[in-house]
Symmetry: C2
Subunit: 334 residues, 2 copies
């Protein structure tokens, strides 16, 4: 994706002449968000981009400082009826059960194998950590990437009967491309597992592995038969959620974003960190209001709860996307 | 730097015609390493770059996978007679001493104030951690960046009477630029503090903050008077040295480099991780052999000890730079 983008930029610059290219791309690209309805939401995005990219303007931001961070679950792809990574965990436990006969009688594994979501919920965080350990650790990073890729190739969402990588929001894909065409560097900053995302984010979002920030477990470096490897350990390294998001952003990116995109309370601190430090900044929350084309949920949801951040959006003048009103379509296939 | 590089590329492409630009840049740039003497060392670099950038060649690597990682201390800038970051610590303790009268009689502070390096060494790792805590923690990240920048603007190396940011190796600056001109993305992967490097690496090396990997302490997210900040805590987060280097590379970059550059045993695992996973790969060690223009040290050195990695270089056919023989000059001012 990146190589193609760069070539496209070069071709465009040759065709338009360099001065035109270096000018106000934002205006030339006002049709770059075809799945967004006209209105205040869309305008807030294009106005912000025009302000920070207009050379000589008081709000101009040099390209190398145009950092934009995106949450993943519920912001770029679906997170209902459960996080995709949780669906992966449940499937992996079922796949590994034949080699682990004791799981048939031991919680939390029994709950997964019986499809007993109440018993699973009752196992709490301790149960989830046990499930993470057997599904995410005990193999090399390369092996884990292959497990994730193989699973994504075959798994289907129950409602839409589609691979999860097709359940990405078309308007957000257009937004990512629009920002990159305007010199932004786009990052994912997700509570999800960093190595659960990296095998597919470049293909699906155009975001390379080095621009993915997420939660992680510890790894150990080993030489095995003369070959170096990283072995995944059943121990939390970093939780990239809530206050962890600005910390993860700082550790990986080392400067503040000028735009941040989220959909839940887990994104509150990222939005604060991005928008409340001074200068023209942009915050956006995807509000899931469309039960027909996708889902409708906010303050009471188990996954992607949006409560405090929705109140903060009003106070801080962050853009709130009303999915039903603002998006012409949710998924590319619709 | 990056914005300028990009514009330079565009101008070059307009002048040369796109097809010429997209062709074999490596050949066009054979004069890109003017401070390197002709010989096997220089040739090993240009041969590698030609192989991985020749479109249609069996060893071609797409640009997005051309990741190159560089150690900092002793590889890009000076590390004798002590790490620059240690000189910073000693200076900061002296600067903060008037507000901390008890330090005059308490180790390890007394040792620093007396210039008693033997007593300082005797305080061991525990002493160093105490010195780190008072000089690197207890302020916001933004405040720390300013402290580092101010110090670098005024501090001078005792032997060369120059700012430390001028004590960077001119041949390595050329190498960084040469790799970037050939589509590589260059990263720093250093045992030094990530926030000690980020304030100046873009200006000095053309490497932006998001491409700096280093050791870190923990931070805490806070809202203070309605403004978000990251407060630095006296607690180690990550040590980016030895086996930590491949772990840090994986966490920040998420794919293996195809070229790695180091100078000491702290770089051994980074070089293994980069070069021993299959494919055409490049490893290089800067061997400090030039006491006249810089320093000569290796197996017995306190800082930048090069012992195991020098043996491994022979076994694994990594390029070893003989500074005295291979470099026309060490620093730009020479």
């Amino acid at each position: 994706m990146r190589a193609i983008d760069r070539r496209a930029m070069l071709l465009a610059s040759a065709g338009l002449g360099l001065s035109a290219w270096a000018g106000d791309l934002a205006h030339a690209q006002s049709d770059a968000l075809p799945s967004w309805n006209d209105g205040a939401t869309r305008k807030s995005i294009t106005d912000f981009v025009a302000r920070v990219t207009t050379q000589g303007g008081t709000d101009f931001v040099p390209p190398d400082q145009r950092i934009a961070t995106f949450d993943n679950d519920g912001t770029l792809w679906i997170e209902q009826p459960m996080y995709v990574q949780l669906a992966f965990i449940l499937d992996r436990v079922k796949a590994l059960a034949p080699q682990n006969p004791s799981w048939a009688t031991t919680q939390p594994f029994k709950a997964v194998l019986d499809g007993d979501m109440q018993a699973l919920a009752a196992s709490g965080e301790k149960g989830l950590v046990e499930l993470m350990a057997v599904t995410h650790a005990g193999m090399t990073n390369d092996e884990f990437a292959k497990i994730v890729s193989d699973w994504l190739a075959s798994a289907r969402d129950h409602r839409f009967k589609r691979p999860y990588t097709e359940l990405v929001y078309q308007p957000m894909l257009e937004l990512l491309a629009y920002l990159r065409a305007n010199g932004f560097k786009t990052f994912i900053v997700s509570g999800g597992g960093i190595e659960f995302m990296r095998p597919w984010t470049e293909k699906v979002y155009g975001i390379p592995p080095e621009q993915v920030v997420g939660s992680s477990i510890k790894t150990r470096f080993e030489m095995r038969d003369g070959r170096p490897l990283l072995f995944r350990l059943p121990e939390i390294n970093f939780i990239d959620d809530k206050t962890g998001k600005p910390i993860g952003i700082n550790e990986h990116i080392g400067r503040r974003p000028i735009a941040a995109f989220g959909n839940s309370d887990g994104d509150l601190e990222m939005l604060q960190w991005t928008t409340l430090g001074g200068g023209v900044r942009f915050g956006l929350i995807v509000h899931h209001t469309d039960a027909e084309r996708e889902y409708a949920y906010d303050r009471q949801s188990h996954f992607g709860k949006l409560d405090k951040a929705l109140d903060a959006a009003a106070v801080n003048r962050w853009t709130v996307v009303d999915m039903k009103r603002d998006w012409k379509r949710v998924f590319a296939f619709q």
